[in-house]
Symmetry: C2
Subunit: 398 residues, 2 copies
């Protein structure tokens, strides 16, 4: 049988957990059971939610129930809005409850596309296989003109970044329209590639009305854009999937975590980050998932980040999604990043590049020096003695 | 100047609130300020977020900052995904912070449609002006066939409900396809109207892939559907607006609160219910907004419900949206509902109708008896002495 399993955590009292779990399994599916006729029970059996397991844990003298409930796919259409409504629709409104984990049966998982490219496909585009990729962002984009963006993009391409992404708050505007940003980004990345032999992918922010997104994405595809950045949580997961599945759009998609904290930021309510920035993002088809790193000022707990990365990379029917731990990243963190998240990740720096005492180009160099040393098993201290840019970065950020 | 104002609440330390507020105003717009040249400052001034006010409150010996920040509309396109990303994008990921309130300048508000019909327009359709409307739902829809739904719908139409809505968990399925439900709903409501002179509107659940929604809505419109029920929070607010604005869809829209608890259920994180089920729903164009009543087992705090109702009805450029306090509603609550939320609301009952000792038809009657008595200034006890159905309902639920 095809199904989705959902794990919930909720406050409980000794002995009340099983009953609460049964209440969810029934309330979110057939409504009631014991008062049904035997004939009705037979008819509804394959629709009934099933309590897979129930456990209780004590935390700070509070007792919590953890229940895994299985919902048969016959109850819903194979789309993420139907799944969200089925497993956490009215239940999300029912006091303190946290959706901790979800698990698709393989029959259900196959109905979702997963990433078009995934880690391997993105590496094939770039021709880079043996190291984490390096990504940078712009410094200040609101109210700035195209020449300002171009200048920053050039420095980052010639410096040797693998990816450069726009800010998620850069919308359609007169100074730097979507169309112009794609054309200019294309021109600059192409020129830098021809001159340096290093390829940089430019991620342009796909924004506007939902009903215009596919046409804009098709246009971007046609115009030679590299990657689409998308504020999936401001739009809806199903629109991410629609872009992924559109036959005329073959662009990698970078999912931005903006607004995800609204549903995932609390530890007692809402939906775990491993779902919102992990499972759902991968199922719907993003090639990259950005999330707060565990190191910066806007930081997630380390365990949360590990859970996200695990959901993005664990073996299943979908290609793996590139993990992009973001915010608070500076060159001194590169050994930690590699130790914690391995080679298949994207090291994404903003302030750590633009805040370098010698400017952005030196910032890019310092990251490359730190990465090269780390992969060679060399200490950063040692590498810094040979590279001025890394030395100054370490002096500033440690 | 056109703008949106956002009110945030966050833990703070004495003296740190102003700095935190300034950090938000800059971080969510131009990024930095004091290190900019005077020329840059001139160029960016109209893009800079502005701290409107900062206050501090103590709750349970914890100090909270409350900051109102104003974002100029020049920074974003006039759509809800851009607004969400601008006011709560990366900020939602930044530890404990709650988006408490939002306020559109009139120039911005005019760029959102609000409801097509609103309270007055729905009353015009029904020809009912002087009382709350009565709505009922089905009992158990998953795994049931069309004959089962028809039978329930008939009882509710002939009983005299103003609206009957489907369950939010009823998706496209073989037993009761969308197309059939609309046709059968149409047939039954029409027949009942011809025979009783009482009009019942049937709300059909619009589900499926985002890219199919507008076509399905157009089809429903063409086929004579009455009202579209929509799980807006499982899809995205902008899709609600797209349905509202579609030139070929003239159907009232009923916004279901499913999944809204994921972003609004916590009191410390996420987005206040008055925004998710109030301001946003009205701006995007729903004619009805369902939300948990303050009375049932799935209940919201009374103040939260009042805030939602206030946002749905306060005077502004948009037509008012019908408030639908739901869950836990039985006839004995009708006087309280009318006292708390007035005449312009929808009394929405499920168990309070289907759980009546004498069945659903008696359930419907008991609600009408309670409503009639309440509006006439008669006590329910008095009315119950004359009406058997109400008497039994009060005996059961109080
Ligand atoms: Mg290119
Ligand atoms: Mg009709």
């Amino acid at each position: 049988m095809s199904y989705i399993q959902a794990t919930y955590k909720f406050p409980t009292k000794v002995g009340g957990t099983e009953r609460k779990a049964e209440g969810i399994a029934l309330g979110m599916t057939v409504g009631s059971w014991t008062d049904l006729t035997e004939m009705d029970q037979q008819q509804l059996l394959r629709h009934k939610g099933r309590v897979v397991s129930v456990t209780e844990v004590e935390e700070d003298s509070n007792l919590f129930g953890i229940a895994i409930i299985e919902y048969p796919t016959v109850n819903f259409s194979p789309d993420l809005p139907a799944i969200l409504t089925t497993i956490f629709g009215k239940l999300s409104l029912d006091g303190q409850i946290r959706l901790q984990n979800i698990s698709f049966s393989s029959g259900l998982a196959e109905q979702f596309p997963g990433p078009r490219y995934g880690v391997k496909g993105i590496r094939d585009i770039l021709g880079v296989y043996d190291r984490p990729l390096l990504m940078s962002i712009f410094k200040g984009v609101i109210g700035r003109n195209q020449a300002y963006l171009n200048q920053q993009l050039e420095a980052q391409c010639y410096g040797g970044m693998d990816l450069v992404k726009e800010d998620e708050i850069l919308f359609e505007n007169e100074l730097t329209p979507f169309v112009t940003r794609i054309k200019e980004g294309n021109r600059i990345t192409k020129k830098a590639y021809e001159e340096t032999g290093h390829r940089t992918l430019y991620a342009v922010n796909l924004t506007g009305r939902s009903t215009d997104l596919l046409n804009k994405a098709r246009w971007a595809n046609e115009a030679g854009a590299d990657v689409l950045l998308f504020n999936v949580h401001a739009y809806g997961l199903d629109l991410l999937q629609a872009i992924r599945e559109d036959e005329e759009v073959h662009l990698p998609i970078m999912a931005h975590p903006a607004v995800a904290g609204a549903m995932s930021g609390s530890s007692t309510h809402g939906i775990d980050y491993s779902i919102s920035l992990g499972t759902f993002i991968r199922a719907a088809g993003a090639d990259f998932s950005l999330f707060p790193s565990p190191y910066g000022s806007v930081a997630l707990p380390f365990q949360d980040v590990q859970n996200i990365v695990s959901k993005l990379s664990e073996e299943n029917v979908w290609k793996p999604t590139f993990a992009v731990p973001s915010a608070g990243i500076h060159p001194g963190l590169v050994p930690t990043l590699v130790k914690d998240f391995g080679v298949d990740q994207i090291i994404n720096a903003g302030g750590g590049i633009h805040g370098h005492p010698q400017g952005a180009l030196a910032g890019v160099k310092s990251f490359k020096q730190a990465l090269h040393a780390t992969l060679a098993g060399e200490s950063l201290e040692n590498a810094a003695s040979k590279h001025r840019e890394l030395k100054e970065a370490l002096q500033l950020w440690g």
